[in-house]
Symmetry: C2
Subunit: 199 residues, 2 copies
DNA sequence: CGGACGTTATCACAGCTGTGATAAACAGGT
DNA sequence: ACCTGTTTATCACAGCTGTGATAACGTCCG
């Protein structure tokens, strides 16, 4: 099998998981062919035979983690209709944004890896299609959530929420300057949602 | 001269400028000793003699661009007392935040380089002190500006503004998913400031 | 059986990296 | 004039990188 992007394959899965672990730990630069081979336990020859080139391997891993995030985002909006009172609309918004800022360790790790790929897109053109798609997905999701929650000024409010979530994500991936007394991300989020949907 | 961190030195300045150009273009990985030597026109032997090691060279460049940003932030708060009516307080906030999101090309380039160093701190411990300091500086500045503008809920509003500015910065450094019709960063900013200081 | 194909296992190659080392040219100050 | 420190100019070394190439082994399917 020469990798058509399919999902039901043990070896492919092991290799991509290894790439994601390495990227989460040390950025895209850490995911060299030899390291991926060692980390996954798959022979370097197999890795190359499957994915063709180093760049193809990394973009496959990036597409994989991007697709997982998209699945999670879709589920977040399909899941909860909810009541349309103030509390229900606030809960809807918080629920959707929570999908973008997961707390579970494995999802958190995937978020870090995805963030690393998106950041690397500035330098490596191979990641740009994915980065652009993820940005559009995020905007579309938040816009629809704001719309469902009955928020006005959709254009600018979408952009504000995108920036807020991006900033929280960045600080989550690159912790710097936040003390023990600074409010947690979800607190900031609740505050923003409450300001958007006044009681 | 073996580099004590002083400023009045032509060779040192040329080398550090070369590092910043390379980092802005291609991330910290692009700023190898040989490339810096070629880009600056200074012999690689001199570069090594001055800075001792590759890591020391990069941290010196990071400290340099960090210090420049800090100078700009200090100036932003010393500069304008301004009237204390609604328009004046909004103008103050926008003025301060504008220092964090410069539009001039050279300052923009420095912002990209600084962002790259802060992001690299996740992986390279040498940049962590700088990253932490920049994060604290940003928080302190925005907190003082919000305080001067008479905004309540200082703790959470500071964190919200920090996240907003971080997100706008990230999207500025790593453009992804923003269409031609999406509101510009300064528009989002004005909207947020107007929401913080109701008329 | 036999061919196709994925997998493991190597070797070699050119290219880049930071670093150690050395030598000569040049500068400025005592 | 002499010494000290900076600059330029090289060479070598080990280590990593992606890639090309080859060969043997295994498995599965026709």
């Amino acid at each position: 099998m020469i990798d058509g992007g399919g999902g039901g394959d043990a070896v492919r899965h092991r290799v991509l998981e290894a790439v994601l672990r390495l990227v989460e730990r040390g950025g895209v630069a850490e995911a060299s062919l030899r390291r991926v081979a060692e980390e996954s336990g798959v022979n370097i020859g197999s890795v190359r035979h499957r994915f063709g080139s180093h760049e193809a391997l990394l973009t496959a891993a990036a597409e994989e983690v991007g697709a997982r995030m998209e699945r999670r985002l879709d589920a977040a909006l399909l899941d909860p209709p909810g009541p349309s009172d103030v509390a229900g609309r606030r809960a809807l918004l918080e629920h959707v944004v929570a999908a973008l800022l997961p707390e579970a360790p494995e999802e958190r790790a995937e978020l870090v890896a995805l963030h690393e790929f998106v950041a690397a897109a500035r330098i490596h053109p191979a990641f740009r299609p994915l980065a652009a798609r993820m940005g559009r997905d995020m905007r579309a999701l938040l816009r629809r959530a704001l719309d469902l929650a009955g928020v006005a000024d959709l254009d600018v409010e979408t952009e504000r929420l995108v920036a807020l979530v991006s900033g929280l994500t960045f600080d989550l991936v690159h912790p710097h300057g936040a003390g023990a007394d600074t409010p947690a991300p979800h607190e900031v989020l609740r505050h923003h949602v409450a300001a958007l949907i006044p009681g």
